[in-house]
Amino acid sequence: MQQIKSLENRIDEALSNEQLHTNFRSAMSYLMEKRRDQFPDEKQLKNDREISSTIRSHAVAQLSELLVKLEENLEKNNIKVHWAETDLEANNIVYQILKDANAKSVVKGKSMVTEEIELNEFLDNKGIEILETDLGEFLVQLANEKPSHIVMPAIHKNRKEISKAFFDHFPEFPYTEDVDLITQQVRKILRERFRKADAGISGVNFAVAETGTLCLVENEGNGRMCTTAPPIHIAVTGIEKVVEKLSDIPPLLDILTKSATGQEITTYFNMISSPRREGEKDGPKSMHLVLLDNGRSKIHQNNDMQETLKCIRCGSCINHCPVYTQLGGHAYGTVYPGPIGITLEPQKQGITQLGELTSLCTMCGACGEVCPVQIPLPKLINKLRSEAVEGNNTNELIEGTRSKRKPLESLAWKIWKQVYSSPFIYSIFSKIATKLNFISPKKLGKWGKYRITPRPSKHSLKELANQAGFDHE
């Protein structure tokens, strides 16, 4: 019940914040337009989505084989592989690496998986200084907040709010609301930190099994700094990020950047294949990859839901979700918001805790239409709703099946079933409704707060059709 209440509270908070509404409305409209401009040819887009979907389906289908191959080839490349089943394990692994190297100061590139395991908080508690270097993440860290979007973490902030977050912490710089100027100032701050950092942490967009290559997509160059300037580079990623071949990368990269930010290509694309080799003058001296499960292998076992793992984290479903546009990311209360969030998070953390999230969907289908790897998000969300109240999943692969079944609601559906599965009962019900105006329910939740209550017509269509002489058999 706690969760329901707090979700409700977060929704209330989001809906009553006009500024937030305006910020998200304009940001999402901008992102949708930019994406649309990148895909002028619908046939081509359909084809590209098909190709990317096939690549990802293929990778997910042979996940364990590919992971073994990935480990083999990474080790050949002198990249040490660590397996973490839980968030705590992953955090401990990262901490141990840093501790062994006596690393005190860490720079970090944008990574949703490290948000998922709350690495910053963990390392902070251990006395390690960790700095986000992606501009958006940097601002979110300054403001002591969480990202509100998986690609654009500070998208909930407008120009003024960004300036405030920055100058509250760096009063020594002359105040401006010019974002370009602020960016230059942040750059100055970050340069020093890159130079002095003992270690760099990054995420991974694609891990290529065939060659043991880690791919990193970014725009600011901070990712490259984090992965090359400090003496140690630790990459952290979910096990589902693996792909089979190097030739899988071009189509995926192409559709990722176009779908995510409407860019034909990002400013930086890093392909990391080893630490510094003998005779080379730069690059980290040692490299690690932490492969995180954290519920993913359980999703993988579930044939109905496995497609969740195809996601390449472009955020396009989020940008096109009308509910996300209303709420912004924080109201979801989870690391991943929007359609992918309400699909992934209840599977990872259980329906008991997060089942309510699946109600944040009108089934409009916009997410499924734009997903570059064709994840049938509406179908998966619908399936989760059914798990929450009925538990069709005999293997109980998702925690909390049936946990959201409420006596009153299930009774209402039982009555509904009785009425609508029997033409005879329905005909009586229909007469009562139309003649006595029986079902103009005054208490349809909050329907009446925003709309008039619908009133049944005096005659049903069945009656009108009869009167007009249409056959009924």
Binding site: V323, C364, W413, S421, A433, I439, W447, P456, F470
Partner: protein
């Protein structure tokens, strides 16, 4: 087929749809025992309750003739989700045969009948709300545009963010009432800004939501189902 919402709340839209079909030379049968496609409970997670309702509807359409529905959302439910609903059931073949024969009304009027419309109405300005199910699922959102474009005295005004959901979503409007309310406010704001006198749509769910909100706001902007709009403007007796 009529749909449960049309049967009780928008029967004139259903009748207009049948008259449009009849006018185009089609013999129309309205099976009297039909109730609902089962979408409300299916989308709420109650599939066990959805199944007998869908089955009861399935039995109304045994003949191998097209099933035309004045709603993208009900058509989409049958066409694309009955396969999942009936999975593992002994009568899945029957369910699939119904699914294969389903058409949304404007889709049928345009694709199968190639209807030609003559506008007999007064000059008017309208906005078209394309329902999510017609656009994303059935892929027939453009059929309403093509039908309306045949009407010489109707000017279609374009609104911003046309593809965005109106916030109905069936039980979503009840379960997440405030989000839904905020969505329909955004939608009605943008529709009112067009200065159209009427909003037409292929789906009664959207119309109940948008129309209900407009009425609550005391707006002069009316809403009408496309079938009734077309029938009113093209039928000489009107």
């Amino acid at each position: 087929m009529g749909t449960c919402l049309v049967d009780l709340f928008y029967p004139k839209a259903g009748l207009a749809g049948m008259q449009l079909l009849k006018n185009a030379g089609v013999k129309v049968i309205y099976p009297g025992k039909q109730t609902c496609c089962a979408q409300p409970s299916f989308n709420s997670g109650y599939r066990k309750e959805a199944l007998p309702v869908a089955r009861s509807l399935m039995k109304c359409f045994p003949k191998d003739i097209p099933i035309v529905i004045p709603s993208g959302s009900c058509a989409g439910m049958i066409k694309y989700h009955w396969s999942e609903l009936f999975e593992g059931e002994s009568d899945i073949e029957k369910a699939l045969s119904v699914a294969e024969r389903v058409y949304e009304l404007t889709e049928f009027l345009v694709d199968k009948l190639n209807v030609e419309l003559t506008d007999l109405g007064e000059p008017t300005k309208i906005a078209i709300h394309t329902s999510c199910s017609c656009r994303n699922e059935m892929k027939v959102a453009d059929r309403i545009e093509s039908l309306v474009s045949q009407l010489s005295k109707v000017e279609v005004l374009e609104q911003e963010r046309k593809p965005e959901c109106c916030g109905f979503g069936g039980t979503f409007a009840i379960k997440q009432g405030d989000i839904s309310g905020s969505m329909v406010k955004d939608k009605t704001d943008i529709l009112k800004a067009t200065n159209a006198s009427c909003v037409v749509s292929q789906d009664c769910g959207c119309l109940m939501n948008i129309g209900g909100a407009l009425e609550k706001q005391n707006s002069k902007l009316k809403t009408q189902h496309i079938a009734q709009f077309l029938w009113d403007r093209t039928n000489a007796a009107n």
